[in-house]
Amino acid sequence: DTAVSQTPKYLVTQMGNDKSIKCEQNLGHDTMYWYKQDSKKFLKIMFSYNNKELIINETVPNRFSPKSPDKAHLNLHINSLELGDSAVYFCASSQGSSGGAGELFFGEGSRLTVL
């Protein structure tokens, strides 16, 4: 009964391809996120959705497009993959609170390698 699950865990693909990573949470949370972790382990937020609505969209190339069909799912589609997109992508969820971000629950990560 995994709380936040993302697939695939590993993704190896050629430059220029389009790929998707899927994320689902069964915690009943209303907010979901995508984070990117680079080779130096620096973790940067990319997007955040609250009840299917985009609330955070950091400076990310528009080749990255998140889609939230319902509040339990947040998928990430990447067009025209580039070498610099190689990283580990983490999905996370939290329950909204009045005053500050609460605890985040992370998935296990999807390691994307672009050749």
Binding site: K41, F42, S48, I56, S94, G96, G100, L104, F106
Partner: protein, 114 residues
């Protein structure tokens, strides 16, 4: 932009010793959180301390927060080999629009030698 910075970047200790990691941040916060990441795994939440709290305990973990110095520390007592992991601090801002966004530091790699 990166908010928190952990110090040291890497720490190696013997089993049974205490490990202390520090985090400094730049802007006003609502709360500060610590996470652990085992190699090849996702991040796991350890503890949350609010801006009006100064110290918090959870098992072998002790977190302090000094908002005047914009810094926090994580102490792990009686460390075990299983504590080997990367530890990250993350801050939730006060500014409008940043309330739901956690900004992570660069992490401290802790190695506990048996």
């Amino acid at each position: 932009s990166q908010q928190g910075e952990e110090d040291p970047q890497a720490l190696s200790i013997q089993e049974g010793e205490n490990a202390t990691m520090n985090c400094s941040y730049k802007t006003s916060i609502n709360n500060l959180q610590w996470y652990r990441q085992n190699s090849g795994r996702g991040l796991v939440h350890l503890i949350l301390i609010r801006s009006n709290e100064r110290e918090k305990h959870s098992g072998r973990l002790r977190v302090t927060l000094d908002t005047s110095k914009k810094s926090s520390s994580l102490l792990i007592t009686a460390s075990r080999a299983a504590d080997t992991a990367s530890y990250f601090c993350a801050t939730a801002g006060r500014a409008s629009g940043s309330a739901r966004q956690l900004t992570f530091g660069s992490g401290t790699q802790l190695t506990v030698l048996p």
